[in-house]
């Protein structure tokens, strides 16, 4: 029993080996593409890895948007937007899911529109968003929310509704009020699903922030999405790739943090089984 109880998994060499091998293959393919496949005249489209490191990461600031500093400044700008949007999404999404779980007609009335919202292209909504909201920051937060809203709602709702009937009976026998039942039964039972939703929504909030930057910007500091667009137009390969890598790392760290949070909150009792 004590072996099964250990929550910390023993790390095996293969846990590290896999990612390292893939990393090596990707770098190798990148060099091959850049040096062997692309003709010399078009190499600026995909500069070699060492050039990206040298010009994108190792130069701090070289005026006129070059170097690591402007990339980090715009990344931080997007991080703030993503986190604000995600927080609002999580709060609103969980409240909506709770209302949907307790009031059947709300679920029926809103579900089709949530599904539609999920597949609606942001591109088509930009004119409307511009017409309704005149602050760029608010426009960007809204895009984050639109993109990341659905998973947290659907997963929370599913979790709240899929509580075992026998456990509901247990609470009914004690005469527990609906609110008490929600707090002590449905909500804890839904936590594993809520964390699934959180993780997906968190990943989407990063995408939402980058997409939002792209469509909604103003002078001064711009988000990483807009910055990437600028580098693209100027054909600054190393800066372009460096900012893409950093944006991905941000997405990865958000994803990982929510995984760690999950383990901290429910890891003791909810074990993911893997066959």
């Amino acid at each position: 029993m004590s072996r099964r109880e250990s929550t910390v998994e023993r790390r095996k060499p293969s846990d590290f080996l896999g990612p390292i091998v893939v990393f090596g293959l990707v770098i190798g393919a990148w060099y091959a593409l850049s040096l062997a496949i692309l003709p010399e005249a078009k190499r600026f489209l995909l500069p070699t890895p060492h050039r990206v490191v040298r010009d994108g990461f190792l130069v701090w600031s070289a005026g006129e948007q070059r170097g690591l500093k402007p990339i980090l400044i715009s990344l931080w700008d997007s991080v703030k937007i993503a986190l604000i949007g995600l927080s609002l999404t999580v709060v609103l999404g969980m409240v909506l899911a709770t209302v949907m779980a307790t009031r059947r007609w709300v679920e029926k009335a809103t579900w089709p529109y949530l599904v539609a919202l999920q597949s609606a292209p942001i591109l088509a909504m930009t004119p409307l968003i511009r017409a309704l909201i005149d602050t760029v920051q608010v426009q960007r937060v809204l895009v984050v929310m639109l993109i990341s809203f659905f998973p947290i709602v659907s997963n929370t709702l599913f979790g709240l509704l899929s509580v075992d009937r026998a456990q509901h009976d247990l609470f009914a026998l004690q005469g527990a009020s609906p609110l008490l039942r929600l707090r002590k039964l449905q909500f804890p039972a839904a936590l594993p699903n809520i964390f699934v939703g959180l993780r997906i929504s968190a990943g989407l909030s990063v995408i939402g922030a980058i997409v939002g930057d792209f469509y909604f910007r103003q002078g001064g500091v711009v988000g990483i999405g807009a910055q990437i667009d600028i580098y693209r137009q100027r054909l600054w390969g190393p800066e372009l790739i460096a900012s893409i890598v950093l944006a991905s790392l941000f997405g990865l760290s958000v994803f990982t943090s929510f995984g760690l949070l999950r383990t901290a909150v429910i890891g003791k009792w909810h074990v993911i089984t893997r066959e």
Binding site: M1, E5, D164, A166, Q167, D169, L170, F171, A172, L173, Q174, G175, A176, L180, K184, L185, P188, A189, L191, I266, K268, W269, H270, V271
Partner: protein
């Protein structure tokens, strides 16, 4: 606890029960046996108020009811201690009182060493013990059991039978116990009720006279075997 002419027809037209009547007094422990699907669980759900009968009346003190299901239905996010505290907590008792009551019954079912374990870390028998302890916290005057030990191996089941009887001897609640095991039915109860196949009716009532406390040697007495034979014969007729 009184069942008076209980009938139950589900909305889909299934008639599960037809005119079931019997009484259980405090200090009585009645077992229900019958073919699968004859409405035993339905009868307990009606007794507990989870379901309303379509006919007849069930008089029972609903404020003081304990119900042990076939599955332990422990909440996986709570430790044994917190699971056992649940009912007291739902009735608005303060923390100290919840803890005090839980500790008392956890000792009673012999789970003292496992208070901090989560349900997934317990064996089947330990889960049922925890489930039993959880119901005991509210000191019910009426106790309903729906095949509580059905999923356990024989050794564990017999041990839990003895522990439950010890608790019964002390608390003297009115008990209704559903089981598929004839030996368990005779060993536990003051009366065995045999039900017919669906729609369920009570076709035979067999009194069990052995005095409490019963010890497990009783299982090997000829008079015990004779009673088991009687129940078995009655079951053979109905199924």
């Amino acid at each position: 606890m009184q069942f008076d002419d209980i009938g139950m027809t589900f909305p889909d037209g299934t008639t599960a029960l037809e005119s079931v009547s019997f009484d259980v007094a405090p200090g009585e422990f009645v077992t229900l046996v019958g073919p699968s699907g004859c409405g035993k669980s339905t009868l307990l759900r009606i007794a507990s108020g989870l379901e309303n009968p379509t006919r007849g009346k069930c008089s029972i003190d609903r404020d003081s009811i304990g119900f042990v299901f076939q599955d332990s239905t422990l909440l996986p996010w709570r430790t044994v201690q917190r699971n056992v505290e649940l009912f007291a907590e739902l009735h608005g008792e303060d923390r100290a009182e919840c803890e005090r009551r839980a500790t008392e019954v956890i000792d009673l079912v012999g789970l003292g060493e496992f208070t901090d374990k989560y349900p997934r870390q317990l064996s089947g028998g330990m889960k049922m013990r925890a489930s039993l302890a959880r119901s005991l916290v509210m000191k019910p005057r009426v106790f309903l059991f729906d095949e509580p030990f059905g999923a356990l191996d024989e050794m564990t089941r017999e041990r839990l039978n003895d522990e439950l009887l010890a608790i019964f001897s002390r608390e003297r609640f009115a008990g209704v116990f559903v089981t598929h095991s004839i030996a368990e039915a005779v060993y536990m109860s003051t009366k065995v009720l045999v039900m017919s196949a669906r729609p369920g009716r009570i076709v035979e009532s067999i009194d069990v006279h052995f005095a409490y406390p019963r010890s497990h040697e009783l299982r090997y007495e000829p008079s015990f075997a004779a009673l088991c034979g009687e129940v078995s014969a009655a079951l053979r007729v109905v199924s």
